[in-house]
């Protein structure tokens, strides 16, 4: 028996978040036109300006073409076959407190390891739980409010804090930015809104947990985080979905605004259902994430991507202010027939801006894993610096790793460094681990974890452990 076969057998585990919750939902009929957008807007009790904004985006979207430059291959999406809104019926009366929330919803999150009852939660982490198209509950809101921090579903922010939303929504990712972001602007349903006032260091980790449950629905989440001058926030998002044979679309937009001297740390642990080993089912994860840094501000993206059938995602930083800093740390693991095309864009505008990109791509099975990144030094970016390191690890001989670095420099004083490596989990490494008593599963996950260490250490501590466990589980059937 070869090592590869043994690993396959040892790792014969299921996608653990693949269960379906039995919750009665109110779901729109599939289809998309202006009346659907009007209905979404009405369900959310949105003001007129918001509806107009959505319709404007929809009209732009109709004129746009689906992008095809990424190294991913999937059948054309029928946007009329998707339902654009789905919410648990019990959410219609807007439960005032956790006691009024359907226990089945709370159980769903518990099963996913996200207790929503504050006493049971990890101390110091506030959670916004988004289920299909609505936010189910947001914990620790009062405590955060005392510190002046606003953490609530974006649908609520539109009604409660219209000035902030109006000013910043679409300010970093414009409505015409790209095909999926335009679609998101038209039909987004929920997501999180965060505002950290001047000089405040957010007293807790904030997190949003996205769950897709209903069949044939798309999830279009929208997150907006504003860190005012000198403030500091660390935010984490997690995502899972049931195991289904059909593909489902997730097209999110995340915008970050870091004002002067502010710092935002944004971490993602993405574990959408990846489809089965033959590539049937799974989430299409087409996401636009971008932040803007004003003077001396810092935005740090850390992502651990293990799920989704197709990933198309480039969390980016616009380093507008002088001395601002952008960071991107990424672990992307693909296996089975998964395809990931992910990376970042660092746009250096201000003087002495700095960016760091560290990515670890792990490919197994028959998957394809691509890093695509742009480092752009504008003429104004005197003394700007970038350092990029892209490492790929291959498990088995039927997978692919690709690197597409784009560098544009218009300023001779800017310095751009790029390093890339490709390696394999070698038979020698596996043999050493097994000769020391480790089974093949443990051996592979240890080697892969070691490969990812540089990125994991950027995650908040609680999540570093979770990410490392997730990686272990995700290596299921990874070789052969």
């Amino acid at each position: 028996m070869t090592v590869q076969v043994e690993i396959n057998e040892a790792l014969g585990r299921e996608y653990e978040a693949g269960f379906i919750s039995d919750i009665e939902s109110e779901t729109f009929e599939p289809g998309l036109d202006e009346s659907v957008i009007e209905r979404i807007s009405k369900m959310k009790n949105e003001p007129e300006w918001m509806l107009e904004w959505r319709l404007g985006a929809f009209r732009e979207w109709l004129k746009m073409e689906e992008p095809d430059w990424a190294l991913v291959d999937y059948p054309k999406i029928d946007f009329q076959a998707i339902a654009y809104y789905s919410a648990p019926k019990s959410m219609k009366d807007k439960p005032k407190s956790l006691d009024e929330v359907d226990p089945e919803l709370i159980r769903t999150y518990e099963k996913l390891g996200i207790p929503l009852i504050e006493q049971q939660m990890l101390a110091g982490i506030a959670v916004d739980a988004v289920f299909d198209s609505v936010s189910v509950v947001t914990t620790f809101r009062e405590k955060l409010y005392e510190a002046g921090v606003i953490f609530c579903p974006i649908s609520e922010a539109i009604v409660e804090y219209p000035e902030l939303v109006k000013k910043y929504l679409g300010s970093v990712v414009g409505r015409k930015d790209n095909y999926y972001s335009a679609l998101n602007c038209a039909v987004f349903t929920d997501g999180s809104f965060v505002y950290i006032p001047k000089g405040v260091r957010c007293p807790m980790e904030l997190s949003t947990y996205f769950r897709i449950n209903e069949q044939n629905t798309g999830q279009f989440e929208r997150t907006l985080i504003i860190a005012d001058e000198g403030s500091h926030v660390s935010y984490l998002e997690g995502c899972t979905a049931p195991q289904r044979d059909e593909n489902q679309l997730h097209a999110a937009v995340v915008e970050l605004i870091a004002m002067d001297n502010a710092e935002i740390k944004y971490s993602t642990v993405q574990n959408w259902y990846p489809g089965d080993e033959n590539g049937k089912g799974g989430i299409y994860n087409f996401v636009t994430k971008r932040g803007i840094c004003h003077t001396s501000a810092k935005i740090s993206w850390t992502q651990v991507e293990t799920g989704s059938a197709v990933t198309w995602k480039y969390p980016s930083c616009i380093l507008k202010g002088d001395n601002s800093v952008g960071e991107f740390y990424s672990v992307a693991l693909t296996r089975g027939r998964q395809q990931a095309d992910t990376g970042t864009k660092m746009i250096h505008i201000g003087k002495n801006t700095k960016s760091t990109i560290i990515t670890k791509g792990i490919s197994a099975g028959r998957s394809n894993n691509s890093y695509r990144g742009l480092v752009k030094m504008m003429a104004s970016a005197d003394g700007a610096r970038n350092f990029t390191e892209c490492d790929s690890l291959l498990i088995g001989d039927k997978c692919g790793a690709h690197t597409f670095p784009y560098i544009e420099s218009r300023n001779p004083s800017a310095i751009v460094e790029h390093e890339a490596t490709t390696s394999k989990v070698s038979d020698e490494q596996l043999f050493l681990c097994r000769q020391r008593g480790l089974d093949p599963e443990k051996a592979v996950s240890m080697i892969v974890n070691g490969f990812c260490k540089e990125v994991f250490k950027e995650l908040p501590m609680e999540f570093a452990v979770e990410a490392s466990k997730l990686l272990e589980i995700s290596l299921e059937g990874s070789v052969g």
């Binding site: 038979d427 097994r434 000769q435 020391r436 089974d439 443990k442 260490k453």
Partner: protein, 261 residues
Amino acid sequence: MSNTKSLLTIKDLYAGIEEKQIIKGFNLDIKPGEVHAIMGPNGAGKSTMGYVLSGRDGYEVESGSVTFNGQNLLEMEIEERANAGLFLAFQYPVEIPGVSNLEFLKASVDAVRAANGEEAISSSELLKQAKAACKQVDLPLAFLKRGVNEGFSGGEKKRNELMQMLLLKPKLCILDETDSGLDIDALQLVAKGVNSQRSEDRSFIIVTHYQRLLDYIKPDFVHVLADGKIVKSGDASLALELESQGYAWLENGNVEAKIEG
């Protein structure tokens, strides 16, 4: 001693890699506490022996039997053999970047303990033992935090192997040309570590090309391996004879007739 139960018994072993027969009728019996040196010219099958015993993929056994501590070794997986107390010190230890030595030691020790129905070792106890082992093999404590063999010199890698051995406390240690590439100081240090581990319930197979390691680790038995089988056995004095006369002295028609290097 003769009534003691054997730890390892190899009978009429024929084995090789990719259909190429390398081990051709190998016999060996090792009792607990014994130190056996296996010497021989390049290509005699010395390293192959270690790989076959530890079960490395690609090494196929054609016929013969190997009994280890009462069990049929050849039916066991690599990690089962390790957990049963078989330890191979590598000639060229591989690097595992990003996995700290300490993490690796804990995973290994815990695997062995789990196989024996014991609980995982506490981190503080492991650290205590690891620190002591570091001291014994003269590696700075900082090595515990570094990636397994990552950027280590040849000598440091060998000492790191020894450190793993000290923590895992195996029943049988196979040292595969541990002396290769070591200067005399490092060699003495490794020998000291091995000697400190000699005990009634731990046996050693020391695979070496040269006699010099045996100046420091005195074997109970010396075997000369040529063309896949033992052509001569004796006590420690055999190694000295070999040293002075070369392998050609064995005058076996199939034996490659000189020491290289």
